[in-house]
């Protein structure tokens, strides 16, 4: 209750603001239409008109909710019109990309804290890599993979790995460096090998940082997959849904797909949070 009540009240506030905004933003179109038809529009009718447009500037919350409900429960989940089906397509590539990205990030961070050459050579380029507009190179990645005969899940997963490795890298480098001088000195005084220091000191100290970054990374992986889905032949997945909604001006469909994506991300983040609590609890780090 302590956790649900605040969320609910904030949500309520948002929904109210949202309705108000929907009325304000959709009103010009409603007035235009009325003017074209030569009718005049009293306020109640105006408000009613802003709630039911096909192409609203801002769909009302209930329209989005209905879009979501239709997408999720409106048909069999194997149907192409089902958001569950598209969500699944996106999720599988996201998980693959996240796994690749997280492993790469951890491996690179490990190399970087152990080797000055690695740090100095890689770090600036890792940063630069993230400034490359992903949407611009995603089509090339897809084309290059396709020319090598690789299509489907892998190219999308590579793009999502590209986006998700960076937060893991940054968090993990910071985490692996948290042990203070005394703890490192203790290890030295026992003449611990690098591997022992890594497994017994650096890694456990880094775990809180790792989990924090994994949460960011999994959301990034989802965005990466969605971006990868746009040029992958706009076939299936939440990204394709978003885009086709955009082509055909189906505002409600865009918003529904948007919320489905964000909901998926929230679920993934929550899952990592649960793993985090479990791990830290077992390690005695949760207090």
């Amino acid at each position: 209750m302590r956790r649900v009540l605040p969320v609910l009240s904030v949500l309520l506030a948002i929904v109210l603001v949202w309705y108000a905004a929907a009325v304000l933003m959709n009103a010009p179109w409603a007035r235009d239409q009325a003017a074209r038809a030569g009718q005049d529009l009293p306020l109640p009718a105006l408000i009613a008109a802003t709630m039911v447009q096909d192409r609203p500037v801002l769909p009302a919350p209930h329209q989005v909710a209905k879009g979501l409900w239709d997408g999720i429960a409106g048909q069999k989940i194997t149907s192409k019109r089902s958001l569950v089906w598209h969500g699944w397509v996106t999720l599988s590539a996201t998980l693959a990309g996240f796994a690749i990205g997280a492993l790469a990030g951890i491996a690179l961070a490990t190399a970087i804290v152990h080797s000055r050459v690695m740090e100095l050579s890689m770090m600036p380029w890792a940063i630069a890599s993230q400034t490359v507009p992903i949407l611009a190179i995603a089509p090339m990645v897809i084309v290059v993979f396709a020319s090598a005969g690789v299509t489907g899940l892998i190219p999308k997963a590579m793009i999502s790995a590209w986006l998700s490795f960076f937060p893991v890298l940054v968090g993990m480098v910071k985490g692996l460096r948290t042990p203070d001088a005394m703890q490192m000195d203790l290890m030295r005084s026992w003449s611990a090998s690098r591997a022992q220091t890594f497994w017994r000191l650096r890694l456990p100290s880094a775990l809180p940082y790792l989990f924090a970054s994994l949460k960011v990374a999994v959301a990034a992986a989802l965005v990466g997959t969605i971006v990868g889905e746009l040029p992958a032949g706009a076939t299936a997945g939440l990204g394709a849904r978003l885009l086709s909604g955009s082509y055909y001006g189906q505002t409600v469909q865009i918003w529904a797909a948007l919320f489905a994506a964000a909901g998926l991300a929230a679920v993934l983040v929550a899952a990592i949070g649960a793993i985090e609590r479990l791990t830290l609890h077992r390690m005695g780090l949760a207090r």
Binding site: D180, D185, M187, R188, S189, W190, S191, S193, R200, R287
Partner: protein
């Protein structure tokens, strides 16, 4: 044979506002089985010298040898047990597993580990707390756990940086006795930093008095006390004389500020 031999050791820290001369021209030789206390005002380089012995700092000049090797070689042979000024326990390990950590690293068998952990926990009177995490203990208990950790693997040389600073006198007395007993039984070489004159006199075969800015040794006092030392030796005449000698040496060192 000298276990530790320092000849003309200097150590300077480079800081943003100029160099700090933490050790100046330090000469000292410690024999096998010695119990050497270091005493001196704060900032005089006690910690720094201990760290240099353990190869955690490198002298700017001079020679330091440990068992005829460089400190670094000695470290690799795991010659040291080191107790730091702060406990430095790992929050994600219980007290027992904290103590077992160096044993794991050094490859002791599991059975051996368990038995050693039990022994040292008993020694520092923490047997009931092996299963607790460090942050569930008071400061003094944590410090005792850290002492137990350094004792567990029976290094020949023990370096202890104010290990008993956070303990009350009763526990301190008991641990002093236990430490002396351990030292007598095992013939370890111990270097021990303290701020307490009675503690230094009670424990040591050799008391090194240091003085700051630059950090240097001003007196080395050899103890005339026998190796067997019941607690009430502290009321003996020899003890009181030695205490006065140390206090005077300390005061001299303070004279220049």
């Amino acid at each position: 044979m000298s276990v530790i031999e320092a000849k003309g050791v200097n150590l300077t820290f480079q800081t943003r506002d100029g160099p700090v001369h933490a050790l100046k021209d330090v000469n000292l030789s410690i024999e096998k089985g010695d119990f050497v206390s270091f005493i001196g005002p704060s900032g005089c380089g006690k910690t720094t010298f201990l760290r240099t012995m353990a190869a955690l700092e490198t002298p700017s000049s001079g020679v330091l040898s440990v068992n005829g090797m460089t400190p670094d070689q000695a470290r690799q042979r795991r010659a040291y047990g080191y107790v730091f000024q702060a406990p430095g326990l790992y929050p994600w390990r219980t007290i027992s597993r904290n103590i077992a950590l160096p044993l794991e690293i050094m490859g002791f068998s599991k059975a051996d580990r368990q038995q050693r952990v039990a022994r040292v926990l008993d020694l520092v009177e923490l047997s009931a707390f092996g299963g607790k995490f460090p942050w569930q203990l008071s400061g003094g208990m944590q410090q005792r756990a850290s002492i137990a950790r350094a004792l567990a693997f029976d290094a020949d040389i023990l370096l202890m940086d104010e290990p008993f600073g956070a303990l009350d006198e009763i526990v301190r007395d008991r641990l002093n006795e236990a430490l002396l007993e351990l030292w007598q039984k095992t013939g370890k070489t111990i270097a021990f930093v303290t701020h307490s004159i009675p503690e230094a006199v009670y424990l040591s075969t050799k008391i090194v008095v240091m003085s700051p800015r630059p950090g240097r040794i001003t007196r080395v006092i050899d103890s005339s006390l026998p190796r067997e030392r019941p607690l009430d030796i502290r009321d003996s005449e020899d003890f009181i004389r030695l205490s006065h000698e140390v206090r005077d040496a300390l005061r001299e060192g303070h004279g220049d500020d």
